[in-house]
Subunit: 331 residues, 2 copies
């Protein structure tokens, strides 16, 4: 008897059973579904469809910042705050998006270390994601994990992203509350990032505030805000923290709550944010599907290698080639 490996797939029955186990809060079932979704295993999506009516209740907080800004530490401190600093404690899901790791699982080690921190706490679920090879794949996988955590009944989901790529900006932008973490004095590049990221931040955190230049960073931010285009109903607060010592964390949690109150104070405002989030998720799924179908089409196409040779030798231009393929795709 051979022991051949079957291509992984999830039958409709298995998907339904898995969804049931996830909604009852089974950690291993949730972890398995996330893995299947991340691997784009056929049939896994059916479980998400089944869970969809259960979602939309968790408060999603996005946290972004440069490598070295200490946002992982800030996230860990926020977990501790919501677990031990509030009554009743909130259940927490964390999605740590690490786009720095396209091939090797650079996130895995850090993930394990952090999992151990909260290993004894069933109220905390942490999942790390590395970049998918595919355009937009990261947004899709992140959204999927958020959905699973939401369906599990987590009160709050913290989405932590490294870097400032478009994918990560989209991920944070569509959270209910977006936190941008900065550190003092990283030079001119950071100034540019601040300028670009002004519009997506609901809250600014200047971490490592015990360092030289912290006041300068705060005043730079204030000045940029004062140069802002239009009057806003919500002026993003600028908070200082020393996350490694837990300083300023309660104030960050208060600002998150204040921002939530601000959204909720105007039903139309909250609805708009929810629609934006739904539209983003819809677009992400749509593009992911298209990318997959085109990928299949390209892989099936025996002519792809020939095509590339013709492109290299300038016998064909890529615009015409793309139009030809699309004509086949869109009939």
């Amino acid at each position: 008897m051979s022991t051949r490996t079957l291509p992984p797939t999830l039958t409709p029955d298995a998907a339904a059973a898995l969804a049931l186990r996830v909604r009852s809060g089974e950690l291993r079932a949730a972890a398995r579904l996330m893995r299947l979704l991340d691997d784009r295993v056929p049939g896994a999506e059916a479980a998400l469809k089944a869970l969809h009516p259960l979602t939309g209740h968790a408060r999603v907080v996005g946290i972004t910042g440069n490598p070295g800004s200490g946002k992982s530490t800030l996230t860990d401190q926020l977990i501790a705050h919501y677990r031990r600093g509030v009554t009743p404690p909130e259940t927490i899901g964390v999605v740590a998006v690490d786009p720095s790791s396209p091939y090797s699982g650079g996130a895995i080690l850090g993930d394990r270390i952090r999992m151990m921190d909260h290993a004894a706490d069933p109220g905390v679920f942490i999942r790390s994601l590395a970049t998918r090879g595919q355009l937009g794949g990261l947004s899709r996988s992140t959204d999927d994990v958020i959905q699973v955590l939401d369906a599990m009944g987590k009160d709050r989901i913290l989405v932590e992203t490294v870097g400032v790529g478009q994918d990560e900006i989209d991920i944070v932008k569509t959270a209910e509350t977006a936190i941008v973490v900065l550190v003092p004095g990283l030079g001119d590049d950071v100034q540019a990032i601040k300028a670009g990221i002004l519009e997506i931040a609901d809250i600014f955190v200047v971490n490592k505030a015990d360092r030289d230049g912290a006041l300068r960073t705060v005043s730079d931010l204030k000045q940029m805000q004062s140069l802002g285009q239009k009057p806003r109903t919500w002026e993003p607060p600028i908070l200082s923290t020393v996350a490694t010592r837990g300083e300023g964390i309660a104030a960050v949690a208060e600002a998150i709550e204040a921002h939530r109150q601000h959204l909720a104070s105007d039903p139309e405002r909250l609805a708009r944010r929810q629609r934006e989030r739904a539209a983003h998720r819809f677009r992400t799924i749509l593009m992911d599907r298209v990318a997959q179908r085109l990928g299949v089409l390209l892989a099936e196409d025996a002519r792809l290698e020939t095509l590339c040779d013709r492109l290299v030798h300038r016998e064909l231009d890529p615009y015409t080639a793309a139009d030809e393929l699309l004509a086949r795709f869109a009939g």
Copy 2:
């Protein structure tokens, strides 16, 4: 007479004329074409199609690194090297990709400052790009600018990207030579990035090498290389620079040349790299077209707002919604 603004578009004749002016090296024509392409002005692509047979001669060098790593300074020093340190001087094109700036043109100020540095030198053309709102839009725009610079006859094109998002990794990965710039001692996050980026680097540069921890960073990199999976025909050199003082720049240029020689020493190896680049460009154009068509479809769809409301209220799940739209798209 009214002075209404016509929607910008480029007629076939105008595109052909513009292409002619670009191939004769006219700077203003090149700048105009880049702007039209970046704005996705209908008809602009025809100019690129016309220029396509002229491309494929420039040597494309990708330079990436975290914000604050000093890669802009390194790029500037490389420009100076190729303009004044080699005989005959090379003509240089630069694409500075700044994904930190999704809304405001954060890149523009830096661009102007750098343009002034080289304003008196017609042999240097610098173009900055900010992130496009659309998935993969950045890759597409960067490729377009590279094509225009190539068609202008630039000997060498330096592509500088901030950050480590998937788009930027793809951009650098498909260059002929990929340089990854690191700085000493930015903490654990950077270690993760190093791990993820190991495979795309043809050359490592440890910049700000006069700082504490530089030797440590070099030895960390060496250790990671020694842990590498398979024996490689090209072992990425690890070079130390102090770009602000021009130290180590000549060695970087030598390593770029050595890498080129390595590629050229095996025709199949060079061909493979060129095919990878062509395939990446083809995929990028394909996905960009699909995103645009879907965007049009979504914008035309009066039901989009209703759709989002139904998604928010969980009356419909986004997978089913995406399948329905795709069925209409792909007929």
